[in-house]
Amino acid sequence: MDLLKSFRKPKWFVLKYAKVEKRPADRVYKWYAFEPGVIYPATVKRIREVIDSGEIPEELIDNRAMPGVDPRSVAMAYASQAKQLPNAFWEYALQDRGDFEDPIVIAIRAEALTLARRWFTQALSVAVGQAVGVHILKDERYRL
């Protein structure tokens, strides 16, 4: 039963937004490509869901954590960081980088996008369960 549970897909499943990328020269890391126009909106939507519900994001819970370390600690830390960012940050994150000139707004938008990137990267690492490569494709709208 526990074994089956460990293979259960989380509610927010990052691999749904990823494409396997073949890199024959790299036999160690398993590579995935992400379209920014797909992964960032999906991740931001998920983050806002977590902020609203107060849940611990199960997709970030790493059961490979070291003995003595709560496997939920990374998930809780990411959720806590997300909650500390004002709502406007998440609005800005999904707007075209070209729409902004104010360096303060650009910086806070970058903070939100960086947390979103770290969020889906952690989710990928947990879902795949081995060393991963993340290839974020070109999309100037999502530039920091």
């Binding site: 600690s73 081995q130 991963v132 993340v134 974020i136 494709l137």
Partner: protein, 150 residues
């Protein structure tokens, strides 16, 4: 703040361009002074007090896909990143650091046998002075090292 030291950039390029011998392992250490791009070695920094779960020089990192478990190639932001596995110190026998003076930065160094002579490659802020009480853990989660051309 986070970033490469100039020593780190030099060592990285020397390895790439000249095929110099890399360190067998790296170390992640905790310091209570502020590294800058001009920091060369651990002698330039003040490491946190040893004891209560913290050993001189920090925790070793092997150069492999277990300890550096995520690589990122970001075409949107023209950079690449490598992520370090979670590094955990557990306070034992009292607070960590043992003198109560908190760690403010984590740094990545080489593995020179003399800790003060270790090259400092990269640094990242812990967002304040971090102290944990006995039995609690101090975890550096998903520490990222990035290469950005600007």
């Amino acid at each position: 703040m986070a970033g490469w030291t100039n020593r780190g950039k030099y060592d990285c390029l020397a390895l790439w361009a000249r095929g110099t011998s890399p360190a067998t392992a790296f170390y992640m250490a905790l310091v209570k002074s502020t590294p800058t791009a001009d920091t060369d070695t651990m002698a330039d920094l003040t490491q946190v007090a040893t004891g209560n779960g913290y050993s001189d020089g920090g925790i070793s990192l092997t150069r492999n896909a277990t300890d550096f478990d995520v690589l990122t190639e970001d075409d949107t932001n023209d950079k690449a990143l490598v992520q370090v596995k979670d590094i955990v110190w557990t306070a034992s026998g009292g607070t960590l650091p043992s003198d109560g003076n908190g760690a403010t930065y984590a740094v990545i160094t080489d593995d020179n046998a003399t800790v003060a002579s270790r090259d400092v490659y990269h640094y990242g802020s812990l967002g304040g002075a971090r102290v944990v009480s006995d039995t609690q853990t101090l975890t550096i989660q998903n520490f990222e090292i990035d290469l950005t051309e600007s």
